[in-house]
């Protein structure tokens, strides 16, 4: 026991110097990448995930198309250099398929797929660094990428992990903590408080579950504020870039369609 890292010391600090309910640094980058319709890179501490969204577009797998709504296709790629020990996982790996399936089931009730019959929406998740909270980072990044692609969502989906060390709950676990204590990941739609995903791979006492579940739902609200800020900043930037130019066109040229010009004069 002596050589092991203390999960929570007597002063209430965790192994990386955080308090019990403190989240790690979050950065969100919504700049476009390549030909993706929407993309986002998110970091939670040392976990870094990049998501590209393509679509809605013509379904590649004709057999799986649905006549009344779009199909969500989630593919996860974990970079071999993302962990401490370098290991190449192939695409058929059970862990990866499970991760993809959880992301897919998280977004299925949120994305308004009924608006796009016979199409397909591809969500490609690239894990660049992992230090715990992989599912949480993937879901948050996928939400932002979907927003960036202009795909209608009922709400932003905010995910966060929580765990319990003996009796004290804590949030946003690192790999070190995830290996040691029981933990769960919760994805919440903050507006209604609906939960679209709860997953737990370890055993947790039923009395502790309620506390930690409520705590993660609260923490999701905090992440929601951050995601909203990032989405607003990105949207503002795009809209402003368009606006500056439309004004200058009005001054110089008469090549704008009358309707458009009228709208801008208003």
């Amino acid at each position: 026991m002596g050589s092991r890292v203390e999960i929570l010391n007597d002063d209430g600090y965790r192994s990386d110097g955080r308090r019990q309910f403190e989240l790690r640094d979050i950065t969100m980058d919504l700049s476009p990448r390549g030909t993706a319709d929407g993309s986002a890179m998110i970091t939670h501490g040392l976990t870094q995930v990049m998501v590209s969204v393509f679509g809605p577009r013509e379904a590649k797998m004709r057999a799986q198309t649905l006549h009344d709504r779009a199909v969500l296709n989630v593919e996860v790629n974990i970079a071999p250099f993302s962990t401490g020990e370098r290991r190449k996982r192939n695409r058929g790996d059970k862990r990866i398929l499970e991760l993809a399936a959880s992301i897919k089931s998280t977004f299925e009730p949120v994305v308004q797929t009924a608006l796009y019959p016979r199409s397909q929406i591809d969500i490609y998740v690239h894990v660049l660094q992992q230090d715990g909270g992989l599912l949480q980072a993937s879901i948050n990044a996928a939400t932002l990428a979907l927003v960036g692609a202009g795909i209608p969502l009922l709400d932003l989906v905010c995910a966060v992990t929580g765990g319990v060390h003996s009796t004290s709950p804590m949030l946003d676990l690192t790999t070190l903590e995830e290996n040691d204590i029981p933990h769960l990941t919760v994805a919440v739609m903050p507006k209604t408080g609906n939960v679209t995903l709860v997953t737990m791979e370890t055993r947790l006492h039923v009395d502790r579950f309620g506390d930690i579940f409520k705590l993660t739902c609260d923490a999701a609200q905090v992440i929601h504020q951050e995601m909203k800020r990032a989405a607003y900043a990105r949207t503002r930037r795009l809209v402003d870039a368009m606006d500056v130019d439309s004004k200058s066109i009005l001054l110089t040229g008469d090549n704008v369609d009358k309707d458009t010009a009228m709208n801008e004069l208003e």
Binding site: T27, R57, L153
Partner: protein, 319 residues
């Protein structure tokens, strides 16, 4: 936010810095999100929203695109600008795939050849359909479509061919049907395709423009732009206004070196402007082209970050 496929985009400097968030924090910083529709300012400024934001009550207003109704509230489902037309509230996404409308001019690529129809990738949410009956066939505008035409559809359009067409109608599932029943439309050659986000293409009086540098432009409303060698108007109309050989030919004309450079310069300007999210019109492109020639910069240098920024600044500075 500039992207050139070969290297990674720098982080968005507006949101580059992570800031530490301690939990729990006060949820009171939920300001400037609620939209007051009685506000005078709402009419003039562009109000932004993101998915999940309540816009108004569903009693007083009707929901439009980009919104949904839940619990008697109209809620945004996409990130973009809120628009109001009388009692109709809609949200226009800042960035999305192409939303076709009847009469739009689009540039597309043949994805598949099917019985009596071609499937065309035109940047929409499904492949567009070009029926054999909506193309002009060799032999005249009013010619009947024979069974032999069905058997030789690949002599008109093959997989991978580029074409310019007009949106004719929609199918029940929202897929668009195209037609090329005009001499302006048809197969494309002698040029290069650039794809930009469709929001950047404004509706213009004419989407066929030609720049004085010997380059023709077709600005497809789906964000596909065709940049090609200038064709004289007199050459375009052959016998009877329709020359089958020329219209469905797969062979490029001779393009001289100066024209090739001009085409490459225009495509790089389009890429640079699109990376800075500048709306593209013929006037803007002409101005940008003149700037590029004036600066005497190499064609490939236009893709460099600082040159592109200077280009955008020069456009903004003149107005």
């Amino acid at each position: 936010m500039i992207t050139f496929a070969s290297f990674a985009a720098p982080p968005d400097d507006l949101y580059g810095h992570g800031h530490r968030v301690a939990h729990p924090i006060d949820p009171a910083d939920d300001r400037d999100m609620d939209i007051d529709f009685d506000d005078e300012e709402f009419v003039s400024g562009s109000k932004l929203t993101v998915p999940g934001e309540t816009l108004t009550s569903s009693h007083a207003f009707m929901r439009g695109h980009g919104t949904y109704v839940d619990n008697e509230q109209v809620i945004a489902s996409v990130a973009g600008t809120v628009e109001r037309v009388n009692k109709l509230i809609s949200v226009r996404a800042a960035r999305s795939r192409y939303n076709p409308e009847v009469g739009d001019l689009v540039v597309g690529r043949i994805a598949e050849v099917q019985p009596k129809r071609w499937k065309v990738d035109a940047g929409g949410r499904q492949d567009a359909v070009l029926m054999l009956s909506s193309v002009n066939l060799p032999g005249g505008v009013q010619r009947r479509k024979l069974e032999s035409d069905e058997l030789q559809m690949r002599t008109f359009f093959e997989e991978g061919d580029l074409l310019v067409a007009e949106v004719q109608a929609f199918f029940a599932d929202g897929a668009m049907s195209l037609h090329t029943r005009s001499l302006k439309y048809g197969k494309l050659r002698n040029g290069q395709l650039v794809i930009v986000p469709p929001a950047l293409i404004r509706r213009l009086k004419s989407h066929f423009t030609s720049l004085p540098c010997g380059v023709d432009l077709i600005l497809g409303l789906n964000g596909y732009i065709w940049v090609s060698k200038h064709v004289k108007d007199s050459d375009r109309e052959g016998e009877d206004g329709f020359d089958a050989e020329a219209v469905y030919s797969n062979r490029n004309d001779d393009i001289d070196c100066a024209t090739r450079t001009a085409i490459a310069r225009v495509t790089n300007i389009i890429r640079a402007l699109a990376a800075h999210w500048q709306p593209l019109t013929d006037a803007v492109l002409l101005e940008a082209y003149e700037w590029a020639v004036e600066q005497d910069c190499d064609v490939k240098d236009l893709l460099l970050d600082d040159v592109a920024a200077a280009l955008v600044a020069s456009l903004g500075g003149q107005h």
